[in-house]
Symmetry: C2
Subunit: 383 residues, 2 copies
Amino acid sequence: MTQETDPQEQPTTSGLQLTLEAPLPLDGGGTLDNVAVAYQTYGSLNADKSNVVLICHALTGDQHVANDHPITGRPGWWETLVGPGKSIDTDRYFVICQNVLGGCLGTTGPLSINPATGKSWGITFPVVTVGDMVRTQALALDQLGIETLLAVIGGSMGGMQVLEWAARYPTRICAAIPVATSARHSAQNIAFHEIGRQAIMADPDWRQGAYEDAGVKPTKGLSVARMTAHVTYLSEQALHRKFGRNLQDRTRPTFGFDADFQVESYLRHQGITFVDRFDANSYLYITRAMDYFDLAADHEGRLARAFKNSPVRFCLVSFTSDWLFPTPESRAIVRALNSVAAKVSFVEITSDKGHDAFLLDEPEFFQTVKGFLDAAAEARGVN
Amino acid sequence: MTQETDPQEQPTTSGLQLTLEAPLPLDGGGTLDNVAVAYQTYGSLNADKSNVVLICHALTGDQHVANDHPITGRPGWWETLVGPGKSIDTDRYFVICQNVLGGCLGTTGPLSINPATGKSWGITFPVVTVGDMVRTQALALDQLGIETLLAVIGGSMGGMQVLEWAARYPTRICAAIPVATSARHSAQNIAFHEIGRQAIMADPDWRQGAYEDAGVKPTKGLSVARMTAHVTYLSEQALHRKFGRNLQDRTRPTFGFDADFQVESYLRHQGITFVDRFDANSYLYITRAMDYFDLAADHEGRLARAFKNSPVRFCLVSFTSDWLFPTPESRAIVRALNSVAAKVSFVEITSDKGHDAFLLDEPEFFQTVKGFLDAAAEARGVN
């Protein structure tokens, strides 16, 4: 399959798009009708449809993995890993990434129109879960005629989706690569998300979630939320190496509240640029989905039960300086997998780049993914 | 000296208060006239004034170390450590704590009236430094007739003041106890402070700092700032132990944006209660003072020079799970002190309570302080 062959695929500014034919059942109860799913593909589907790699994006990611972003114009967020001749080699594999349910780049979310009112859902949109995101992805793949996946890969919230895929659809996937992630969101991570949500909801332009109708945007609140999250994505070492206590375009402190330090200037920039490409209510919904994620709780409190008799080959990756999703979170998953004799490998990569390492230039990570994915393809007999 | 003996001492709702007789020179340039200093004392000054212990408070602390707080009614913030028969034994030592310059509980700060305009300074108040805070304390002690101190002790920003005291007034202090602190604020810590400041300044009720004149308060922004800081004061382990993923007064998630999790409810409470006792502009100024703190930079880039030939006895304390002021920050100070052959002891205390450990029930910490302080008193011949 290429982008030209399927009449379901409607090109939009968000890339390709389809609409789910059946109502989508939600973990929180009820259903959503006419769910739109925006996605991007790279490479070509082979004859027996055995070369599909699904990429799951993180909180503020989107489907634009390996093409310039339609809003920012910047390179795709995983071009380090995905492309011709790269670890996820688009000359060999057919790569798909879908914007998650609740997102804001073409897939149905709080910014979408509620058919019942003709207005944006805003915070009347139902709260969704990582499970709902994955169910949406599976239904979209059904409509695209793709039954099984060679591999599912993702980092952070993307890794949560990978784990959910392995738990819900063990016979639809051959290999799973959860990167820098956890089987349940920690109290500290919930706390940081709650700060972001409170910052958004404290902005009077949030208008109790109905800002879209009012023609305003809670940009200041969303910017503070982004700044908070961004600090958690970096390590203390990385911040020290990049900025230290260096001053911004000056030789002496100004004794004022301007961005005297480079790290302040950098953070402000992160906040300001984020609001152009992301919807504040989507931020509320997606952080909430992460907070609710607890795979063990969904399996009588035992994580191992999520993977019982799983035929999936797992490769987990963590990074030494990641304090948001630290290595013990991955080890807990490895232990659960080992306890049910699942096929699992685990690599902890030495990096001082923090949680963001999975998006950056980490050759050992690239080699790990390439080696594991090619072995999975070999085992499956992918040509 | 007791609270009754000195006509300079004016009881106020903030405790005792005096006014500096001379203009206060500031590190950023210029001077401040008629600086008010609010303070509290505990115990009695002995005949040769050799038993004075100065306590320096942290960012959101104040002078109410060991008495009920006049606004919140809660116990003093260091009653764990200070009181009759405690580590800092008020039956033996005369304890003083002053509200810092730039604070909001009786010492001159942005909430004070600018005599030139008859209005609150707001953000026209000059940016102050940790050095300015310490100079203010020294001048206030001069007026109280106290020339030398048996010891100076403080945690976090309080520890920065202790280091500054040792560097600026090495002959005025016998012993220094910097706890859970650093000789320079790190890039990560500056980043977290900047988030808090941006949250305050994003609140429309901040009114460019002139909210006091407008009769409003940026409570939402200040609350988000407090929540952000509060998470950094705790360890991941402490958050996990206290809250984990426990739900608040419910058995199932609500699939909404209420405080479903206990950790959310706790954080919101921290934010809401803080705004009753703290001024938003003070928060801006005091965080800024911490950001600017860099003792080595003030001494030709070499921390050791700050302590050359120092007669002061040092005892540094850090806590294992403190990621805001981690142990390596204390070790760097110890190395500098060792390089100039200063008298220094260092204790890293095992605790899972994070940065907040210095305020909590940590028996090893209490014993460390008691042992060191009593030895210093012995060496000085305090009766």
